[in-house]
Symmetry: C2
Amino acid sequence: MAEIDPSAVEQVATAARAAREASRRLALLSRADKDAALHAMADALEAAAPDVVAANAEDLARGRDAGMAQGLLDRLALDERRVHGVAQALRDVAALPDPVGEVVRGSTLANGLQIRQVRVPMGVVGMVYEARPNVTVDAAGLGLKSGNAVILRGGSAAESTNRALVEVMRATLEARGLPADAVTLLEGGRDAVRALLTARGLVDLIIPRGGAGLIQTVVTESTVPVIETGVGNVHVYVDAAADLDKALAITVNAKTHRPSVCNAAETLLVHEAVAADFLPKVLAELAGAGVALHTDAAAGAAAETAGVPHTDATDADWDTEYLALEMAVRVVPDLDAAMEHIRAHGSGHTEAIVTEDRAAARRFTAEVDAAAVMVNASTRFTDGGEFGFGAEIGISTQKLHARGPMALPELTTTKWIVEGDGQVRA
Amino acid sequence: MAEIDPSAVEQVATAARAAREASRRLALLSRADKDAALHAMADALEAAAPDVVAANAEDLARGRDAGMAQGLLDRLALDERRVHGVAQALRDVAALPDPVGEVVRGSTLANGLQIRQVRVPMGVVGMVYEARPNVTVDAAGLGLKSGNAVILRGGSAAESTNRALVEVMRATLEARGLPADAVTLLEGGRDAVRALLTARGLVDLIIPRGGAGLIQTVVTESTVPVIETGVGNVHVYVDAAADLDKALAITVNAKTHRPSVCNAAETLLVHEAVAADFLPKVLAELAGAGVALHTDAAAGAAAETAGVPHTDATDADWDTEYLALEMAVRVVPDLDAAMEHIRAHGSGHTEAIVTEDRAAARRFTAEVDAAAVMVNASTRFTDGGEFGFGAEIGISTQKLHARGPMALPELTTTKWIVEGDGQVRA
């Protein structure tokens, strides 16, 4: 790999040291102080909404000139209503319990030592993400509440918007006597990102949010610990013992409710015993909702009979996260074949079985290796908000530290506090 | 970096795939089956003790020929009594609760979905470590109990011993109808290690155990998630309000009880208000225990007055993990200076304050950023066994996933199981 531009390394080191200083003060703030700051930031963002929208208009104009797709422009766009929504999210974070100080476990040892494991902030958390500017505010809010300083690297497409948002938040912190470096926007080119990813010892954690390419880059290049998020090649398996009405509702919801997100289903697996009954209905309904179908031979034959348009699935289809109104469909001989397919092609995000058979459900939940395994529910429920966390900073698809939806506790680490009265080891 | 020998990559990939297959079976074993296997392995190791000792004699002879230091030869050596000790450790692991299946949290959502977060094995865990062959058996035992397959890379100095130990354990597993690939010894040169460290997707976690050089290599080269362990530049701070008898006992214990391990103290910081009282006593006692003292000007003057031999501390001393009967000593003007010194030089392992002042203790435990922070206790207590975990696979000095002593729960990840009766998102 080419060497990183030394000036970028220096820029990131300076920012990270300032963030570290800030994090030392954030770690000691009371919940009341943090919540008051979150409310003040929300008020300030609402007051500055016209400026934010104006900055966003610059980004949108640049995007349009560059031929950005309409879907991306939609995700980038902020109007005053959306700015109020973003601000409200900060107030929602203020309402959540403070994870810092939670005693995770503890005991008194035989020698009288009192030990307890207590949640403490990570320190400095780097976020690398793509276009959506609401992530900028969400990450700053969750970071502040969990006592962490954040270094934010948003997509260049949202540059002006992110700058406006971060400026408001920093000014608010400063006005309250809190460290502005609790929130830093990392500017600069690709070398700035590479410098962030290799700032081991200065940055405690990197969380990437975005497409598979972004995540792959971060995971490969980073020497700072990373929590991998969000790639979801998600399956719904309709078992021989499925209630087919539930299966129909779940499949359609998992595919079409919001196809662009990671917990949307990409492949439907159907047990051959119910294929003749189930496929004509589900394929017709999916096609009716605008879903392009990629079918194996058996599913293709069913589509043919039902007069539903479809194309033959290629090997690549089983590994594709469409993030769009497309779905691969395969008929499997049994539960083992379904689980074998998921093992071979799943990304460890969310996998669902539809069945009334207790034994099948038990095997599926025990043997399928994923962040979330569902029985008779839409895969769309893998979400911090739905799980009742009140917020979400991403969905981890790795096994270390956090797995599944991440919120405030996942932004903390722990410290053992040991209190004695002179104990020594014999 | 030079490309890794493709045959080493292939060797590791083959081993990791076999370990993955094994891990799928291990994940579903009952506690009773795992415990019975651990007991059988212990019995088999005891029965094979003469063979293990003979293999160890080869390693020792090779070590002596190569001029290995006596301390390392001692750590490498296994006699029949030590083999029985190693076997007994497997029985101790069998007696511990099974972490797999533990419900970490859970709730019923407003829509009726029942969600629970359940501990499950990591999958395949790689261990890279140095001479001590007991780590081979400990890691295999903790791996099996937590449902993980382990790939072990011990030091080449213990090659014959490790081969003998792993052979016995694999044969025992096989004889019980369990997958031998639950325990794999990785042989081959440096490229085999590099291939292991970059087997992302095949290996779920790497735990290095050994000196700073080994850990640095693993952390830098690995693309598989790593838990950094064990480097301990540990401080004891004797506050103005310290009980000096406790301070004396704690300092001497922390330094001399077992100087070669990571939780031994390396630097003594003394508040200037008690320096005149405390230093003559502690320096004399340390020197009497054979500790070489590296003193700053004030501590040096006290040593001079007390007639205790000492050398001037250099800047490098404050950053040195001696792992030997050596200690750096510095006089500080106040608690803030002590914490600033620790911030600048500590490795985030264990830090101790000796004080009867509640406010000082509260500040120290809140502000010092380390895996373990102690009040009035020897730093030697940072240990899985001492904390009551019943075992220890290492002491994490990083913030992600685990911090401090790691045992069985730290070798697991979690999975969300979501059970519904047809719920979809509105």
